[in-house]
């Protein structure tokens, strides 16, 4: 006897009907009103990461859609309860793996707010540079993938080339390309090398040309416009209702950017605009991302121009002392040991903090509860992708299968952020 499957919704129907069962194959009457249920993902070329959409199709038209998550369970929130504040940085790398640097920075900022630490200006400037470079790499890839999902494979690889250049900079700075683990509570793992500045400036010079090329391939391309204009329309009100943030919300006219509205890392010092579109469709999101890349480049230039000298770690006993001092000075050695030994280390005050940064995908919030020990009592993450993934359903119901991929790539949902 077949075990009785306990499931609800479309997935249950998908389970009940054999994937290509008699209902769909037969020429019996009633075939016409039988919808087809297909699994879009978790293994599907257009699903960036292990996302799954269960679609009920009437021909090519999507009648109903169930977004499902749970295929990339990393347990990153639970891991936070077993890692010290610094050890958790490596876990943040693996949430939105396209912008690990932005996650590192967001998390470190949250813990610093909990501790009440003020960063030295150099650390702030370096973080701004890195955060914006991360945004550039994320957006440019997202733009490229937008093209790829609509068939323009070439633009995606051009975007990849630019991303590699950003990763070169990351590697030079942090030692890692994808998983940067660059920030520490109270500062950074390493100083920002001189050479890096030259390399970033060179990259920014060529970036404009490449953006022009990608624009030439996509922005004015009638096919691309046909495919993206009016697709996956989402209003400003819907964005608010669904908690959608970031470029997706700004493409719907929701003028909200944490960098400007609740500045951290002295973002108020930088002169930049928050690009807004009002159409709320795939094309508008593409345009917003494109414009944001330019704004990020602008911020990076300003930050590099005004890069202050000085320490890159907060003074005091939160950050590891200089290695040379550890080898030669007792106080530093003790501080090093106290920070590294389990059960000692950074003692956050009793309390809780919510701090959010503008990650490339939207508002990345960290809610950290501290019980006064060296390990967070609870880490709650508000990753932007979760909210955007919820918005998939209203966006694509009633549209065509081909719009599903356009929608998914315009939302840039990263599976690593979804499950916790």
């Amino acid at each position: 006897m077949k075990p009785k499957l306990q499931a609800t919704g479309l997935a249950a129907e998908a389970l009940r009907d054999s994937p290509f069962g008699e209902s769909a194959m037969s020429t019996e009457p009633g075939l016409a009103d039988k919808d087809m249920i297909i699994n879009f993902g978790p293994q599907h070329p257009a699903m960036h990461g292990t996302l799954r959409l269960v679609l009920r199709l009437d021909g090519e038209r999507v009648r109903k859609c169930d977004p499902e998550m749970g295929y990339l369970h990393t347990g990153f929130e639970k891991l936070g309860e077993y890692r010290t504040f610094n050890q958790y940085v490596v876990v943040t790398d693996r949430m939105n793996y396209l912008s690990a640097m932005a996650n590192n920075i967001g998390y470190a900022c949250a813990v610093e707010e909990l501790l009440g630490i003020e960063l030295p200006p150099r650390a702030k400037a370096i973080r701004v540079v890195m955060a914006e470079m991360s945004r550039i790499s994320d957006h440019i890839l997202s733009i490229g993938l937008q093209g790829m999902d609509l068939g323009a494979f070439t633009a995606m690889l051009w975007a990849f080339i630019e991303r590699e250049k950003v990763y070169d900079v990351f590697e030079l700075t942090s030692g890692g390309r994808l998983t940067t683990s660059y920030t520490r509570v109270g500062g950074l793992a390493f100083d920002f090398p001189e050479e890096c500045e030259r390399r970033i400036r060179k990259f920014l010079e060529t970036l404009e040309g490449v953006l022009g090329e990608i624009e030439g391939m996509l922005s004015h391309n009638r096919i691309f416009i046909d495919r993206s204009k009016g697709v996956a329309h989402f209003t400003r009100e819907q964005c608010i209702a669904y908690g959608v943030t970031g470029p997706v919300a700004r493409a719907s006219g929701l003028d909200r950017d944490m960098r400007r509205d609740r500045p951290y890392l002295d973002y108020e010092q930088y002169d930049f605009e928050v690009p807004i579109e009002t159409d709320g469709d795939v094309y508008a999101r593409y345009l917003v991302r494109l414009a944001e890349v330019r704004q990020s480049a602008r911020i990076v230039r300003q930050a590099l121009d005004a890069m202050p000298a000085g320490p890159y770690n907060a003074l005091g006993k939160v950050t590891l002392p200089d290695k040379d001092d550890v080898y030669s000075k007792m106080e530093s050695l003790i501080q090093h040991f106290m920070l590294e030994m389990p059960g000692h280390g950074i003692k956050t005050p009793l309390g809780q903090v919510y701090h959010s940064t503008e990650s490339p995908n939207g508002e990345l919030g960290w809610f950290i509860v501290s019980d006064g020990t060296g390990v967070p009592y609870r880490v709650r993450v508000r990753p932007p992708s979760v909210y955007q993934f919820q918005a998939v359903q209203p966006m694509i119901e009633g549209r065509l299968v081909a719009d599903v991929v356009a929608t998914m790539s315009s939302l840039n949902v990263i599976a690593g952020e979804l499950d916790r």
């Binding site: 054999s18 994937p19 290509f20 194959m25 087809m36 297909i38 599907h44 070329p45 257009a46 090519e60 093209g147 790829m148 999902d149 609509l150 068939g151 323009a152 494979f153 070439t154 690889l157 051009w158 080339i161 391939m217 996509l218 391309n221 096919i223 691309f224 046909d226 495919r227 065509l400 299968v401 081909a402 719009d403 599903v404 991929v405």
Partner: protein, 377 residues
């Protein structure tokens, strides 16, 4: 030499050439495709499987390896030139997985159906000067396997069967994505064949023949040898070109495959050699359509000042075949280039383009052509 014998021999040789043509040229085409796309994308492309003299080393005993000068051993004839061979070997040795839900007969039939009709239809394409008095036998060899005087119709009648391969493959796979691909493909081919046929009608009206060899002669002899129909009938040529992309399932019309949407379309469930044959069929269809375009709109094997359309010499025949090949690769290269440049249409947009734009346009073109021709002549 006996004329009959020569005639029989000539047909056999031509048949071998026609059947072998796609088999011989598709690897080159694949290589071209991969190389062009990688160069466009800032990559190098296949360059690991080479014709390298250094490979002889491996035949030598270990002690003698490295005896060849490095420059010689590392010399690559055409970097990556053996990649299609490697691909073929890989495909041949890959496990063939037959889905449990598949209709076995249809599933196995589909690749054959996709390949054989298009390969057969190649017989109608003239690839050289029509006359060649071979060995002075008096037998005139037509460089065209099937010199039917209704070549266009024949080609279409047979070539259009290719869609069955796709439709049957999609259906027989017993899977949902292939089914959608098959449905898309069938609809798309039917739609665009109409636009294509209407565009061809304009050309036929202009040339006044349906014999493909006569088409070439018409183009080679009017307007001082430059009477190519793409100049005489630019709109029809454009419509044909667009429809050709759709017929071949090439981007921007590759909806039946559309890997971001339908995973792989009709061939999602195919692997190994069966997939290879699909692959072959697809590229053969590309050759067929490009050949047709060359023949009907680009003057076929003719080239002003170089080819004398009425000469029967062997050199002339070879030259004309070379010209045909060059034009063919030009069109193929154009298709490849376009593929890596443009995004893909959506299904409804594709249909609307076909029915609402191309068909009326082609019809109008036909009517105008007919009227103009009537009054001019």
């Amino acid at each position: 030499m006996n004329e009959t014998l020569v005639a029989v021999l000539a047909v056999l040789v031509k048949a071998v050439i026609i059947v072998g043509f796609p088999l011989a040229i598709v690897p080159g085409l694949i290589y071209l495709e991969r190389k062009v796309c990688s160069y466009i994308q800032g990559r190098i492309g296949p360059n690991r499987v080479n014709l390298t003299i250094g490979h002889i080393d491996y035949l030598l005993p270990p002690s003698m390896r490295g005896a060849l000068p490095v420059g010689l051993a590392r010399f690559k004839l055409i970097p990556g030139s053996l990649q299609p061979l490697a691909d073929g070997i890989k495909l041949a040795f890959k496990e063939e997985i037959v889905p449990a839900q598949a209709d076995k007969l249809l599933y196995f039939m589909a690749p054959v159906l996709a390949f054989v009709p298009v390969a057969t239809a190649l017989a109608f394409i003239p690839f050289g000067t029509p006359t060649w008095d071979a060995f002075g036998s008096g037998h005139v060899i037509n460089l065209q396997l099937a010199s039917a005087n209704v070549g266009v119709l024949g080609l279409f009648a047979i070539g259009s069967l290719g869609v069955y391969g796709i439709a049957v493959g999609g259906w027989g796979s017993g899977s949902k994505f292939p089914l959608m691909g098959a449905v898309r493909s069938a609809a798309q081919m039917i739609s665009y064949e109409i636009a294509m046929a209407l565009a061809l009608l304009s050309a036929i009206v202009t040339a006044g023949t349906v014999d493909l060899q006569a088409f070439v002669l018409h183009q080679a002899t009017t307007w001082g040898g430059a009477g190519w129909l793409m100049f005489k009938q630019p709109l029809a040529a454009l419509i044909f070109l667009v429809a050709m992309f759709a017929e071949n399932n090439r981007l921007p019309f590759d909806l039946p495959e559309a890997e971001p949407e339908l995973v792989g379309g009709y061939h999602t469930e195919y692997s190994g050699l069966k997939f290879g044959i699909f692959f072959l069929g697809e590229y053969t269809a590309m050759i067929l359509m490009s050949g047709l375009f060359v023949t009907m709109f680009m003057g076929g094997w003719s080239l002003p000042l170089l080819i004398d359309p009425y000469a029967t010499g062997g050199l002339n025949a070879l030259l004309s075949a070379g010209v045909f090949l060059a034009k063919l690769f030009l069109v193929l290269g154009f298709q490849i280039w376009i593929r890596w440049t443009l995004p893909r249409f959506r299904y409804d947009q594709l249909m609307s383009l076909g029915w609402k734009k191309l068909v009326p346009l082609a019809l109008a073109n036909l009517v105008v052509s007919a009227i103009v021709l009537t009054f001019v002549s």
